[in-house]
Amino acid sequence: MTRLSSAFSKPHPALVCFVTAGDGDTAANLDALVEGGADVIELGMPFTDPMADGPAIQAANIRSLGAGTTTADVLRIARKFRDRHPDVPLVLMGYANPMIRRGPEWFASAASDAGVDGVICVDIPPEEDDALGPQLRAAGIAPIRLATPTTDAARLPQVIEGSEGFLYYVAVAGITGMQQAAIGSIEANVSRIKQSTDIPVAVGFGVRTPEQAAEIAQVADGVVVGSALVELVGEHGADAPSKLRELTASLAKAVHSAAKA
């Protein structure tokens, strides 16, 4: 069983927590997420042009790049995380260009060496899978695809095909960290997806509070929280870990006590 499948086989829904690599003391931030009860860690790879992200994660990208974060730094952060937390699944999330700059084989192999379990690439849809998907699969890394409210029934099988680890359901047609979708629409879409696949479905975009997370955890296999955590890093800098631990713990409590979908 892979680390990702173990995380989604727990008796409760999984809490997936995102922070941007190189923004603040990332090692301490990641440890705080684990201590708070995160089941899966998403580590954002900073990019100059984060087109799918709202102001919070854009700002985190700028802070990270401004501090001089390189791809080598991101991989080093991942490697050290893996050494400290051998069992916690780690997923890299980012955009195509930094991932394929040195060639997709290079990236897949470097990520695998760093102990990465999955990769979410925002701007590689199934149509362009060749750009990175085969190389990730060959390296034993799960390409995690996104499904959205605009992914219709005709398209869904294509998204699911070749998706591994979990499916990330983007709750709103929009960018990260903005409005939250109505729970009714999330429930309808998640159940539509779950009729077509056994892959776990985690829901993200616009999830900020334990109340929202609890509601979503009733209908999904996992809940993703990003911008709310990233904002804490932006606001508290070096003091962020304790704040992150606190918010993660309240999110984990909410998500873990929900009945498994």
Binding site: F47, T48, D49, P50, M51, A52, G54, Q58, I62, L65, T70, T71, Y95, A96, N97, P98, M99, I100, R101, R102, V122, D123, I124, P125, E127, E128, A131, R145, L146, A147, T148, P149, T150, T151, D152, R155, V159, V170, V172, A173, G174, I175, M178
Partner: protein, 403 residues
């Protein structure tokens, strides 16, 4: 029809020009991009669409634009004859309007009720605001805060035309940041919004579609050249930012092997430093804004900002078809510096009584070099893709003149 070895059959059915192009967009946009392609195919097959497009180009834009023999410039250079395709005489003063007419007709065909666009120098913003006013659709233009500062006259034009201008402060506040913000708006408003992209870049089918709408430039120029001189030019020249005016001129000539093609990038302060906007000559292949193409980027794939005296050329990417044409060696690419463009700008003012935009001033600078190396019975065709009214403040500042 195209021969099997034609350069004019790109892209393939997945929107790829060789290794370039494609549809590198977030899943939310993917169904929309597929929809757009379906609707574009239907429009291409619909004679009524073409009739309406042609009618607007003729009576609203003022096409065909003239083909003009630049006699005094030719004399001054002492070599090949220089001919200009006068797309600066279009309504709104640049080639951008050709594409905007096509895209807004498509938007209305798709039942979209809101238009968004990005702009750098403001020419595409003005053209978009113009067609939105003409068809009564609300228009939101994303423009970098820095570009707003540099291009006040165009900002005011857009406002007069009823557009809402949204200043973009993320990144360095220039064209690529405006495009990011346009994509963010689009992804949040997919149900009613059409994104009019201003150059032959972005996810498929934009590069193909923009090229097709702009090809009117080359189709007209080819026919005009044949009728005026009885032959095709030896060399066709156009400047390149994203590359839409160049593709518009070049595409109809791609299968005429006797016509050499020259694309001119902005070398800014010189290609040896970082202060240029030459994606093809100084960049590497990568993925940005929905397509794979040559990009200005560092070793980690972070996008770097270009520099050019011309705000219309300082985009860190380039249309994917140019990337392919470069690799196929069908088009030669070169670059000229800010200073060379500025000299060419003044030369055209004084020899021909035409104030060109700084963008085609780059093409003219390349023409001045090439013309001298060619015999006087050779013909160079250059695209004068925009007029220079918008640039007089920049030029005055560079020349140390207060106005």
């Amino acid at each position: 029809m195209n021969s099997p070895n034609s350069f004019r059959t790109q892209p393939d059915e997945r929107g790829h020009f060789g290794d370039y192009g494609g549809r590198y967009v977030a899943e939310t946009l993917m169904p929309l991009v597929l929809d757009l392609e379906r609707e574009y195919r239907a429009a291409q097959a619909d004679p009524a669409f073409k009739a309406q497009f042609d009618d607007l180009l003729e009576h609203y834009v003022g096409r065909p634009s003239p083909l003009y023999f630049a006699e005094r410039l030719t004399e001054a250079l002492g070599g090949a004859q220089v001919w200009f395709k006068r797309d600066e005489l279009n309504h709104t003063g640049a080639h951008k309007i050709n594409n905007c007419i096509g895209q807004i007709l498509l938007a209305m065909r798709m039942g979209k009720t809101r238009i968004i666009a990005e702009t750098g120098a403001g020419q595409h913003g003005v053209a978009t605001a113009t067609v939105c006013a003409r068809f009564g659709l609300p228009c939101v233009i994303y423009m970098g805060a820095e570009d707003i500062r540099r291009q006040q006259p165009n900002v005011f034009r857009m406002k007069l035309l009823g557009a809402e201008i949204v200043p973009v402060t993320s990144g360095r506040g220039t064209l690529k940041d405006a495009m990011n913000e346009g994509l963010r708006d689009w992804v949040a408003n997919v149900h009613d919004t059409f994104y009019i992209i201003g150059t032959a870049a972005g996810p498929h089918p934009y590069p193909e579609m923009v090229r097709d709408f702009q090809s009117v430039i080359g189709i007209e120029a080819r026919a005009q050249m044949l009728s005026r001189t009885g032959r095709l030019p030896d060399l066709a020249v156009a400047c390149i930012g994203g590359g839409s005016n160049a593709l518009g001129l070049f595409h109809p000539f791609l299968d005429d092997p006797e016509v050499k093609l020259l694309g001119v990038e902005a070398a800014g302060h010189g290609l040896d430093g970082d202060e240029h906007a030459a994606s093809l000559l100084g960049g590497f292949p990568g993925v940005l804004h929905g397509n794979k193409t040559y990009l200005l980027q560092d070793d980690d794939g972070q996008i770097t900002e270009g520099h050019s005296i011309s705000a219309g050329l300082d985009y860190p990417g380039i249309g994917p078809e140019h990337a392919w044409l470069k690799d196929m060696e069908r088009v030669e690419y070169t670059a000229v510096t800010d200073d060379e463009a500025l000299d060419a700008f003044q030369l055209l003012c004084r020899t021909e009584g035409i104030i060109p935009a700084l963008e085609p001033s780059h093409a003219i600078a390349a023409v001045t070099k090439r013309a001298k190396e060619m015999p006087d019975d050779a013909i160079i065709l250059a695209n004068l893709c925009g007029r220079g009214d918008k640039d007089i403040f920049t030029v005055a500042e560079k020349l140390g003149v207060e106005i």
